[in-house]
Symmetry: C2
Subunit: 427 residues, 2 copies
Amino acid sequence: VRQEGARTLLNWLGCAIGGSRHEAVGIAVATLSPFSGPPQATVIGRSERLDILHAALANGISSHVLDFDDTHSPTLVHPSGPVVPATLALAEHRPISGAEFLSALVLGIEAACRIGLAVSPDHYDAGWHVTGTAGVFGAAAAAGKLLGLDEQGMLWALGLAATQPVGLREMLGSMTKSFHPGRAAQNGLTAALLAAGGYTSSEESLEARRGWGPVTSPRQDWDAVAEGLGSRYEILRNTYKPFACGLVVHPAIDGCIQLRDEHALAAEDVERIELVVHPLVLELTGKTAPRTGLEGKFSVYHSAAAAIIHGCAGEAQYSDSAVLDPKTVALRERVSAVVDPTMAVDAVGIVMTLKNGRRLHKHVDHAVGSLERPMSDKDLERKFATQARDVLPADRIEALVALCRRVETLPDAGEIARAAAGGDRRS
Amino acid sequence: VRQEGARTLLNWLGCAIGGSRHEAVGIAVATLSPFSGPPQATVIGRSERLDILHAALANGISSHVLDFDDTHSPTLVHPSGPVVPATLALAEHRPISGAEFLSALVLGIEAACRIGLAVSPDHYDAGWHVTGTAGVFGAAAAAGKLLGLDEQGMLWALGLAATQPVGLREMLGSMTKSFHPGRAAQNGLTAALLAAGGYTSSEESLEARRGWGPVTSPRQDWDAVAEGLGSRYEILRNTYKPFACGLVVHPAIDGCIQLRDEHALAAEDVERIELVVHPLVLELTGKTAPRTGLEGKFSVYHSAAAAIIHGCAGEAQYSDSAVLDPKTVALRERVSAVVDPTMAVDAVGIVMTLKNGRRLHKHVDHAVGSLERPMSDKDLERKFATQARDVLPADRIEALVALCRRVETLPDAGEIARAAAGGDRRS
């Protein structure tokens, strides 16, 4: 559990660094800075420092804005986005050891995912972006733990969290999507602080007739919250994306990279690529001629072509120029896909015909990054380095990986945030 | 409409001053001050100044914490709580004339009440405290107007508001109830600021399949939002409480005060009081032996007794000591109530038997403060003075009443907030 906590932290930090230059983060920081309190906490990957509440918001936005963060498979909660910004900001404000920090991180993810489980899938189906609406409990629980709340205080903190659910699935596709984990982090941290100060709330905020559960979901299973608490850990079902796009495209990318590496393929070698995919793949990512980087994320054709050419599918493969690159466009036009309803959603079949007439086959049962084929520690470190390389100097990247790996032994967890400030390299 | 805007402002300001010493406000200000930005805006009735976002939160809490503020009858939205704190804080941050301020106030109340109408009563019945959940749109629209947002910007502001609904009816009875209008004010103001900065959101945040309307209410009537916009004004259906307790007790208090004044009664004259009430009165306020001020608000017996003894039912009549006062307790025990399902909820029948054997009758069709018997300007000024007298010196109270009355002509609307600071009298 502690290892998975450290992996979750490393993956989150890389995403926050990688997203730190995104326009959404820039707008939020520039707009809200005039109202920020003292420079208490780092905005990851940037030179600005804000009060802990605003820092939690900004870091929650940056870690989610590239859609590259973690996923708790059973609920679709992206749990680190609300939890880590709240705890990390607090760790810069008061002395918190690495062990305390890691314990709070695990607790927060447990709270968010278990409360998510209690209302899954109905709550999400009803239109709530569960990352923010259940995530706020994770932020409140984690911050409450670090603030030393007793049972009464924790009840109030969860009540203040319950009454501020963020946000709606309608916002997906706009900057407001990434606002959700950010605001959930800020709201959860605010809830814990107010509860610590004695601000009262309901003591049955989840389960009461007009509590969060019944109001936001037609069905609730509260056993999912309490069952096996302390022995079974939801963080062990957390997964990390190897590719900077929606999960349904991952098997095709994975298979193409495997074929490329196994046969040392270049784009020029490939005559055509035929994919056999789950129906959802074309429903969600069937764009044949994407025109922007964002549209490229919704094109299994671009993704497969980029995977062959670059051997990866990071944020760089989804820039506007990467999507319009003539070589990639030419290969993309030789990719086709047919739907097979018997194909699993994390599987793919690939038939690749080479210019020399040879036909290669590849079947992926579970894409890399899934629970069945988790990202290795090395994979996560490579992902981190790729995301950080345009933001931080190489020695700092290595140092940050080491800090995350030994988080449990750090005397001061705030060190991680301070080491991830981007001031010295900021343009 | 402008007159009603000025009346709404005066009533809101008195409530915020009257609530400014409440423990909930003290906790919120003390807890969040370390994270506040520059002292940009007044915390009404207090010496602290906070950044405009935190000031909006604090002033929204104080104006609602005594349950003494305004009510839009058709929706149960308390509209000024989310709208005025957002606009008034902004008026201290940038030059805003009284006329602009009043226009934004009216627009914000229109947005909150009309969006509330579109989902009433289903949204409230589902468990949402509509004051915060619809109120946030009022705060966003009013702030957006003052920030000069164009159509695109206003759509984004409403989207950012839609995705942060606060809060749950389960919180009623705790300090978190008053957090709702405060946080709605802060969220709406944040939404407008971010939208002005270019932070994108959905452009169909209310009506989309997974927008605010369908997600938070089983039924939506969007005609209620657009019908008669600019010719029919919902602020004309705003009402102001004469008594510091739930609306259902108001007819009994009103009738008792009328009998007291008509017959110059003292407690010693009264043998017993028999009330005939709507069923909801005993369901909500049937506490026969309240032990605290708060419990007193849920006792029609205490309320009737206090009305006879004091001739009013302000916050002072709902203090702990007022509820435990032996004279009031003795009279309270001689009050009885029977339910009559044919009685309207804003009506009451009273039979009062005097010690001298005489029997007095009073039937109240509509309680004072209802739409049918609105508070007069003089009533509102008296209410304001009563709420402010322990917080501000007498000359300042008079000056504030005058400022609110001529708000439309003020060169600088921020003057109202600054004149309501409580520093000089703060203990």
